[in-house]
Each structure stands twice: as structure tokens, then as C-alpha cells.
Point group: C2
Chain length 245, copies 2
């Protein structure tokens, strides 16, 4: 048994859970510069003995870090094995939003409203950007969406990638990750809504036109127009799949 029992005081509210100590140790290493993306964490057994906690507690902390998109783990040996510091907030944000929607913590309406705000900001920034940002990824996705053979769900997936591409083009990683999360949160809702669309080909053509219109407004450096168009595009779509039917 470890000898960390010194000081029964300071109990306060937190029962000083062991795995939290591991989490804080890693976070401190990050803040102090001892750990940086690409670095490998010590092995689970080493962390266990270093911090005086059981290996299972170390694993619980690593699981949290993995869920937060901070580490990637791989078994085996060699440079690619072990727990490696990464930074992929998108997946973590998506999981968080998805679960919160499932637990009724995030109303779908609030997610849509937040999307309206963030996407309007994104396209506004893109339109104002000087020099203009590269919209190649967005263009390619729009071209891919012109394929009439796409199933509705496939079209929707490309649609989501298009919106995400705009966020990426804006260069704001926080907004990009958040929008990825928002999208994941309402993905199920959007897929369910497909059933409520009476005339899919018509809706699809309208969406295509709206997408092109947004990009055109960005290229014209007309920020207000771009904001208006993206706003109408998003709110219109959700109005269709929620009210219509």
C-alpha cells in the first residue's frame, strides 16, 4: 500500500479520487511544457508506481484523456505504441454534444441556434478575409453533391462536410471543433427529418443552389449577404424537417 495517507484534513468536497490525480498530473505536464503533442506518456505501469496509484486508476484517467481527444493509445511496441499526446478536439466535441443531446441536456433548438450564430460568423469572416481564403475543399464538396445518384443520407453527409470545410477555411479551430460537435449532436435528428421531406429532389436542388449562393457571396466579399444566405439556408432546412410533413 502506498503511503499517501498523510493529512486526513483538506477533505472538503472532493474525495480526492485517485484517477483525478493522474489527470491533473498530465495536465500540469502539459502546462509546464513537459508534455507536448507527439510526446509519449510514460507507460501505465510506470505512471502507476510514480504517482502511487493503482494501474486501474491510471487507465481510468487515460480513458478520460482519450475521450477528450488528448491522447491516442496503441498496444504493441515501438515509436507508435503507448499513449501519445495528440490534439483532436473534433471527436471529443462530437461525442460530448451527441451524448448531451441524448441525455436531453442540449435541446435541438439551441443547437440549431448556435449553429446559426457560428456559421454566420464563419462566412462573414471568410467574406471579409484578406487575402481570400482557399475554398477548394468546399468547392470539391459542392461538386460531389451535384451527383444525382447520391442517396439522401449521403448527400447530407457531404452537406455536413461542406459546412465543416467552411469553418476550417476560416482558420478558427475552436469554431471548427464546436461546429463538428453541433453537427454530430443533431445528426440523428437531421436523418430522421429526411422522412418529413416531401419532395427530396426539389429540396436537394434548393440546397445546392443555396450552398453555391453562400460561396458566391463569400467570393464577392459581401459579408452581410453571406451571413443572410447561410442563415436562411440553415433555418430554412430545419424549418422544413420539423414543421413540414
Amino acid at each position: 500500500m502506498t503511503i499517501e495517507q498523510a493529512g486526513t484534513a483538506e477533505a472538503s468536497v472532493a474525495p480526492a479520487r485517485a484517477w483525478r490525480a493522474v489527470l491533473e498530473h498530465v495536465e500540469r505536464g502539459l502546462l509546464d511544457g513537459d508534455l507536448a503533442p507527439g510526446d509519449r506518456l510514460p507507460g501505465e505501469r510506470a505512471l502507476s508506481t510514480d504517482l502511487g496509484v493503482g494501474r486501474s486508476s491510471v487507465r481510468e484517467a487515460l480513458r478520460v484523456l482519450e475521450a477528450m481527444g488528448l491522447v491516442r493509445t496503441a498496444a504493441g511496441s515501438g515509436p507508435n505504441a503507448g499513449a501519445i499526446i495528440i490534439s483532436t478536439p473534433g471527436g471529443a466535441m462530437s461525442a460530448l454534444m451527441r451524448l448531451q443531446v441524448a441525455a436531453r441536456g442540449f435541446p435541438v433548438a439551441d443547437i440549431v441556434r448556435t449553429r446559426l450564430t457560428l456559421e454566420a460568423s464563419v462566412v462573414g469572416d471568410l467574406a471579409d478575409a484578406s487575402p481570400p481564403r482557399d475554398l477548394g475543399d468546399a468547392d470539391r464538396l459542392l461538386d460531389a453533391m451535384d451527383d444525382d445518384a447520391l442517396a439522401p443520407a449521403e448527400f447530407l453527409a457531404l452537406d455536413a462536410q461542406f459546412h465543416l470545410a467552411l469553418a476550417e477555411a476560416s482558420g478558427n479551430q475552436v469554431i471548427t471543433a464546436t461546429m463538428a460537435g453541433l453537427r454530430s449532436g443533431i445528426e440523428g435528428y437531421a436523418l430522421d427529418g429526411l422522412d418529413r421531406i416531401a419532395d427530396w429532389p426539389a429540396t436537394r436542388d434548393r440546397l445546392r443552389g443555396e450552398h453555391r449562393g453562400v460561396v458566391a457571396a463569400i467570393r464577392q466579399a459581401d459579408a452581410p449577404l453571406a451571413r443572410t444566405r447561410i442563415h436562411d439556408h440553415i433555418s430554412g432546412y430545419y424549418a422544413e424537417i420539423s414543421l413540414d410533413g
Copy 2:
């Protein structure tokens, strides 16, 4: 050993980790309505046998759910013990943003920019809201901030609560949780920046005035003015603690 080895195919990329099965089981329960906020999850030992995984794997999944703000665990017996479904996205969002900033995945500049966008949206909505929202919490925080005896860090804490109170007043839970996260992500940065403020009393007085000005604009239902004021307030402060000194 459990007999879940059926079908070695479908290996693909995910090694089908045991804890992920628990996570998906809970998520499906949420989506199917079998689980709702306030419900108690089965005990860890029961989940373990039901899903055919070890108890440690169950615990790793519960740890992720806890980090995501979905469950609250308590030892002991009785109605308050066990893993209970909750929905507190704020803490999870804060942890996520804080860790991502620590891992250099979220540049501080992007967080500030996102704050500008979201807070402008919040105050704009508040100004346009009909009937007007209750700003009592924000008022009380402003009054508390009028105390000259407050230490700078204490003032900053109240400041953060004020901004959060505005988000809460707007009623958008997604924005509220996101703003709580953004704030946590740059908290360390903001605290460090205190050292770079030459004349704290002057800065403090200016912040007080700007806060009052934002609330006044909201009460006047002047959305554009509120947006401008909150924008200048935030960008001005971060300009001061980053460039100055």
C-alpha cells in the same frame, strides 16, 4: 471468458474495445428512452455481467460518462448512491477546452474570437428578446463587482460569472455551456495577464463601466449597440493583457 468472439470479420479500424461497448449501451438506452436524467444506472457489477465485460471496463466507460457530464457517481447506499444520469455540460465543456488549450490544440486567439462571436450573439438576443429577460443575476454580480476591496483575481471571477449570467439569461444552454468552456480555457491566460495590467484600479473602473454599458444597451433593446459594446469590451481587455506591459 465471454463468448462474444463471434465474427472475427468487421475488424476494420476499431479493435472493439470493451469499454466502448458499455458506452454505446448507455447511449442507446438514452436514445431509446430507457434512461432519462435522474435515473440510476445498474450497478457496476450488474452491468459487468449483463454486457459480458469486466468490471474495470465498465468503470472506464463510467469514467468517460462522468467526464462528459452525463453521470454523477456516489458510493454508499440509498437513493442518492450509484451512477445517476445527470446533464451538466458546463463542467465537461470546461474540462475539454482547458485540456485542449493546454495541449495547444486550441489557440487562445481562436477562443477569444469565438467568445466575441457568441457573446455578441447573446447580448443581441437579449436586447431583442420580448418580453425582456430577467437580468437579476447579472445585476447582482455587477453590484458585487463594485466592491473596491476585491482582489483582481476575485474581480475576474465575478467578471466571468457575469458573462456567464448573460448567456444563461439568453436561455440557450448550448451557448451557455460553450461559453463556460471557453472561459475555462483562457482562465489561466487571463490570470497571467493580470500582471501585465499597469493600472489595475483604472482598468477595473473601465471594466465596470463597460459592463454597465452592455446591460444598459440590452435594457434599451438596442441590439447593435449591445453587440458593439460587448465586442469592444472583450477585445479591449485581451488587447490590454496581451500587448500592453
